[in-house]
Amino acid sequence: MHKFANPARFLRISRMITPWFFILTAVLLVVGLYWGLFIAPEDYQMGSAYRIIFVHVPASYMSMFCYGFMAVASLVGIIWKHPLADQSARAAAPIGAVFTALALFTGSLWGKPMWGTYWIWDARLTSELVLLFLYFGYMAVWEAVDDRVKAARIAAIVAMVGAVNIPIIKFSVDWWNTLHQPASIMKSGGASIHPDMLWPLLISILAFNLYFVTVVLWRIQSLILRRQIRGLQMRIVEGRQNVEGQNHHG
């Protein structure tokens, strides 16, 4: 476990694989979105408006996945005290926030023509909005607390407590009356979406997943590099002080 979590080894491996992940992400994203926009058949009720599904569902799914990732990484960080775990959680937060914002925005633009409203305070929409604020809160902790060890601990607690919201989002449509419809893909009895529409959707979801892997690896690399930069800066300052001290004595 600790061997894999060695920052230098992590940097080397992730530098090797990110270009490939990036290319795969770009290709699948283009294929998925093009298929969704132009090839997939129209829905029998919603016509072309349903094409928003090919961005809305992946963004919503990833908004929850990302938070789950942060919560697990935070748990590992708090129990095993490995900095790489805290850095992974921290790196994922802005990505999750972007996915959440996109889920809310695309959902709103889908709701207007179909439901008749941009927004309603039902359990699904409200809990997704809470998720956005959780991401903001998590990122604010890292910005506000100067002591890195303390920041990591507080942020980890925010991530783990906030994770309670994830099952609430997922099951809100089953537990309460909502305007939002129940699940179409991940439900008992198989997906209730025609294969001609399901395939581009699955490709799009895969592309969003790969996007997350690519970008989170870049961001973790950045955080590791910054830690090393701070270390070097300190050594340079110490070196100068030593030289000055010697000069003074001489």
């Binding site: 058949p41 129209e42 829905d43 029998y44 009720q45 919603m46 408006a49 349903y50 599904i53 748990l75 708090i78 129990i79 095993w80 023509p113 179909m114 439901w115 008749g116 409203t117 309603i120 305070w121 039902d122 359990a123 783990m160 407590v161 309670v164 609430i168 537990w175 309460w176 009356n177 909502t178 305007l179 419809q181 129940p182 699940a183 179409s184 439900k187 209730s192 979406i193 025609h194 001609d196 529409m197």
Partner: protein, 159 residues
């Protein structure tokens, strides 16, 4: 010596793990209790059965949700006022509404209405929102399902 340090470290790890698991269980329990207590206010709407059961007083602003009954939709002569029935399978409520309807509004589909009951038993809606179900399929597939008479059965089952 080294193994001594190791066991002490792993004991601390175990302690932290139990601490996190315990606090998380408490958080989950607390949130669960709050959500159960607030169940009524979290649910977006009442269905017709609940509306009848609870004897909602006239003029109280509520949301009502259900399926629009087939062949119940009528337009007034002014072309702006609509009449239709909303059902949950057990109870049915008649609704009147003046305003514009969302694109997805149709008979057999779910709706969520905002408004109040009147003394005549008619529900005066001030806002109509269409609810979408979780089914997505191409038009041709739907047509052939209807032709084979499969769709009807599915629909009746789901009510």
């Amino acid at each position: 010596m080294a193994s001594n340090v190791n066991t002490r470290a792993s004991k601390r790890k175990k302690k932290r793990l139990y601490l996190v698991l315990t606090s998380m269980s408490i958080v989950v329990l607390a949130v669960g209790l709050v959500l159960t207590a607030l169940e009524d206010s979290i649910s977006l709407f009442l269905d017709p059965s609940e509306l009848v059961e609870r004897n909602i007083p006239e003029g109280q602003h509520i949301r009502l949700g259900g399926l629009v009954v087939e062949d119940s939709f009528k337009k007034d002569q002014d072309g702006l006022t609509y009449y239709f029935d909303v059902t949950d399978g057990a109870e049915t409520v008649s609704v009147t509404y003046k305003g514009s309807l969302p694109d997805l509004f149709r008979e057999g589909q779910g709706v969520v209405l905002e408004g109040e009951t009147s003394n005549s038993g008619l529900f005066h809606a001030t806002e109509v929102l269409a609810k979408h179900d979780e089914n997505y399929m191409p038009k041709e597939v739907m047509d052939s399902l209807k032709k084979r008479g499969v769709y009807r059965e599915v629909e009746e089952e789901s009510i």
